[in-house]
C-alpha cells in the first residue's frame, strides 16, 4: 500500500487516485475558467462603448452562448467535482473514492466534450449562437448546422457529471470511517451529497432535452415545432426543469465550503449544524417545483404564475436560514481575516445581495419588467460568481497548503481579493441599473442612454479578469516557491479529519480508517 504515484504521463492518464483526479479536475476547470473568461472579456470589450467595434453581432451571440456554457459546465461544475474528489475522502476518513476507475473515465471524457464544443468556433456557421439556455426553435429549426456538435458535447459533459455524482453518493454512503455518522458529516460533504442526488436526477433531463432537439433537427419529429403539434414552450419547461436545480447544483457545494471556512476563522463552531443540513435539503426539494419562474412572460395562466411565484418566494426562507447561521457563527467569534476568510465573507455579503435580487425576481408582476434584462444578468452573476466562484477561490486558498505542503503568500492573496471584490462590484452593480432602465440581456449593441453604465461595467469586468491572472500566478507561485509547511493543522481554528493528516497530504491516506468519536 505504500507505493507512490506512477511516473510520467501515465500517472495522469490512468489515474485512479482521488487526489490526482481531483487535481486534474481543478486544473481543467481553471483552464475552462480562463477560456470562458476570455469570452467574457470579448463581450465586455465590445460593450465598452455603443456601436460595433470588435466583433459582428453573430459572433457576439456565439460569445455569450459559449461564455455561459463554458462557465457553467466547464468551469464551475468540474471545479467543485475536483474539490469533492480531493476533500470528500479526506473529510469522511475514506482511503479513496468508491469507484476509482469510473472516476478516471468521468474526468477524461470531459476534455473531449469541450473539444467538441469549442471546435465549432472554427467551423462554418460558427459556434452555438442561441444562448446557454438554447430555446427552440432558435436552437432547432433556425440553428447553424454545428448544433449537432453542441448536442453531442452536452451529452458527454452530462455523462461525466452523472458518473461523478454516482461516485460521490457511493463514497459518502459506503466509505465513511467508523463512527462518522451522517449527522457528523462535514457540511461540504452534506451539500455535495445532496448536489449529487440533484445531478443524477436532472442531468438526464438535460440529456433528454438535447436528444429531443437532435430528433427534431435530424429525424423529423416535432417535440418543439408547432407545425407538427409540438410546442416551443414545452422546451422551456423541460429545460428549466433541469435548469433550476442546476443553479442549486452550482451553489450548494459553495455553501459547504463557506460553512467550513467561516467557523475556522471565527474560532467558533457553526451555529446550527442540523438546521444547515435541513435548509440545504429544503432548498434542493424546492428547486424541483419552481422552474417556471423563468417563464413568467411566456403567457402562463394566472394560476400557474401565482403558484410559481409563491413557491419561489419560499426559497428565501431556507436561504435566509443559511445566511443567518453564517452570521451568527461569526457573531462573538474571534475573527481573523486571512484570504480564505475574506473570500468567504465576501461570499456571504454578495450572495445575500444576489438573494435579495432573487426575491425581487420572484415577484411575478415585477418580473415582467426584470425578465430578460440586464437586471437578471446582474442577479445571476452575484449568485454564480460572487457565490460559486468566490467560494471556490476561498476553498482553494483554504486547502492549498494541505494539498501541496506550501503556504501561499498572504499579501498576494489579499491583493487578489481586493482587486476581485472591487472589480466584481464595479462590473455587476451597474448591470442592475441597466436592466431596470430597460436594457435587455444578450444585446450586441445598445442605445446611447446605456453607454455610461456599460463602460463602468466593462472596466470592472477587466479588473475582475486581471484578478484571475493574479490568482493563477499565486497558485503556481505557491506550488513552485511557496514557503514549506508541515503543520497538520494549517489554520488554528480548523476542525475535521483532513487536518489530522500530515501536510502535504500523502498520496494514500486513511488506508486504515480513523476512529471518529
Amino acid at each position: 500500500m505504500a507505493h507512490g504515484p506512477a511516473k510520467g504521463i501515465g500517472r495522469w492518464l490512468f489515474a485512479t487516485n482521488h487526489k490526482d483526479i481531483g487535481t486534474m479536475y481543478l486544473w481543467f476547470s481553471f483552464a475552462m475558467f480562463l477560456l470562458g473568461g476570455t469570452f467574457a472579456m470579448i463581450i465586455r470589450a465590445e460593450l465598452f462603448a455603443p456601436g460595433m467595434q470588435l466583433v459582428k453581432p453573430e459572433f457576439f451571440n456565439q460569445m455569450t452562448t459559449m461564455h455561459g456554457l463554458v462557465m457553467v459546465f466547464g468551469a464551475i461544475m468540474p471545479s467543485f467535482v475536483g474539490l469533492a474528489n480531493w476533500m470528500i475522502p479526506l473529510q469522511i476518513g475514506a482511503p479513496d473514492m468508491a469507484l476509482p476507475r469510473m472516476n478516471n473515465l468521468s474526468f477524461w471524457i470531459l476534455p473531449f466534450g469541450f473539444a467538441l464544443l469549442a471546435s465549432t468556433l472554427f467551423m462554418e456557421g460558427g459556434a452555438p449562437n442561441f444562448g446557454w439556455t438554447f430555446y427552440a426553435p432558435l436552437s432547432t429549426t433556425y440553428a447553424p448546422d454545428t448544433v449537432n456538435f453542441f448536442i453531442f458535447g452536452v451529452h458527454i459533459i452530462g455523462a461525466s457529471s452523472i458518473m461523478g455524482s454516482i461516485n460521490i453518493i457511493a463514497t459518502v454512503l459506503n466509505l465513511r470511517a467508523p463512527g462518522m455518522t451522517m449527522m457528523k458529516l462535514p457540511l461540504f460533504v452534506w451539500t455535495w451529497l445532496i448536489t449529487a442526488f440533484l445531478l443524477v436526477a436532472v442531468m438526464p433531463v438535460l440529456a433528454g432535452v438535447v436528444t429531443m432537439m437532435l430528433m427534431d433537427i435530424n429525424f423529423g419529429t416535432s417535440f418543439f415545432d408547432a407545425a407538427g403539434g409540438g410546442d416551443p414552450v414545452l422546451f422551456q419547461h423541460i429545460f428549466w426543469f433541469f435548469g433550476h436545480p442546476e443553479v442549486y447544483i452550482i451553489i450548494l457545494p459553495a455553501f459547504g465550503v463557506v460553512s467550513a471556512i467561516i467557523p475556522t476563522f471565527s474560532r467558533k463552531p457553526l451555529f446550527g449544524y442540523s438546521s444547515m443540513v435541513y435548509a440545504t435539503s429544503a432548498i434542493a426539494f424546492l428547486s424541483f417545483i419552481v422552474w417556471a419562474h423563468h417563464m413568467f412572460t411566456t403567457g402562463m395562466p394566472i394560476a400557474g404564475e401565482l403558484y410559481f411565484m409563491y413557491a419561489t418566494m419560499l426559497i428565501a426562507v431556507p436561504t435566509g436560514v443559511k445566511v443567518f447561521n453564517w452570521i451568527t457563527t461569526m457573531f462573538r467569534g474571534s475573527l481573523s481575516f486571512e484570504t480564505p476568510m475574506l473570500f468567504a465573507i465576501a461570499f456571504v455579503i454578495l450572495f445575500t445581495f444576489g438573494g435579495f435580487t432573487g426575491l425581487m425576481l420572484a415577484v411575478a408582476p415585477a418580473d415582467i419588467q426584470y425578465h430578460d434584462s440586464y437586471f437578471v444578468v446582474g442577479h445571476f452573476h452575484y449568485v454564480m460568481v460572487a457565490g460559486a466562484v468566490f467560494s471556490m477561490t476561498a476553498g482553494i486558498y483554504y486547502w492549498l497548503p494541505k494539498w501541496c505542503g506550501k503556504m501561499y503568500d498572504e499579501t498576494m492573496g489579499k491583493l487578489q481579493f481586493w482587486i476581485a471584490f472591487i472589480g466584481f462590484n464595479i462590473a455587476f452593480i451597474p448591470q442592475h441599473f441597466l436592466g431596470l432602465a430597460g436594457m435587455p440581456r444578450r444585446y450586441a449593441d445598445y442605445a446611447l442612454q446605456f453607454s455610461d453604465w456599460n463602460m463602468v461595467s466593462s472596466i470592472g469586468a477587466f479588473m475582475y479578469g486581471a484578478a484571475q491572472l493574479l490568482f493563477l500566478y499565486n497558485v503556481i507561485r505557491t506550488i513552485v516557491a511557496g514557503e514549506p509547511t508541515s503543520e497538520e493543522k494549517t489554520w488554528e481554528g480548523a476542525e475535521g479529519l483532513e487536518w489530522t493528516l500530515p501536510t502535504p497530504a500523502p498520496f494514500h491516506t486513511f488506508s486504515t480508517p480513523p476512529e471518529v468519536k
Partner: protein, 183 residues
Amino acid sequence: MPINATQKITLKLVVVAIGMFVFAVFLMPPLYDVFCELTGIGGKTKGQFEGTTAAVDVEREIKIQFVATNNGAMPWEFSPLQYQVRVHPGEKTAVEFYAKNPTSRDMVAQAIPNITPNNAAEFFHKTECFCFDKQVLKAGEEANMGLVFIVDPELPASVTTITLSYTLFDVTEATEAAVATTN
C-alpha cells in the same frame, strides 16, 4: 461488504438516471399535453368536437376574433374573410378563411390553431375545421376553407373576447418525405 454495497447503490443510481432520461423524453411531452388539455395552458384547442353543449344563451354575446399568420417563408395568401363575429354561447357558427397558393409549385400546408385567453380554450369547440387536415393547393390555386364552432355556455364570465389564431406552416417537404417512405 463495501464492494457489494457500492455496486448496489451504483446500479440503483444508474437506473434512476436512465429513468429520468426516459421521463424527460417519453413522459414529459405527453404529460404536458394532457396538462395543457386539462388547464388550457398554451391556448391549444382540442380536436373535433362531437358532444353537445347546453342550450343557447341569448343573454350573452361573445366577440370572436380571427387572426392569421404565415410561419417562416410560407408564401400563401392567408386571411380570415371576417375579422370578427359576435356569437351567443351554444350557437353553432360557420366562418371561412381564404387561402391562395401564389407560387408556381404545388404545396401542402398545415394550419395550427391557438386561442387566447388561455382559459377560453377548453370552451371553444370546433365541429368542423380546415385545421384538422393538411391543406393541398396546386400552383396558383385558391380556396375558401371552413370552420364551424360552438362556444360553450360554460365559458367563464370574465371572458368577453376570444381570439382564434391560425398559423400556417409549409409542410410540403415533410409531407413528400413521409409519402416517399410509405411508398
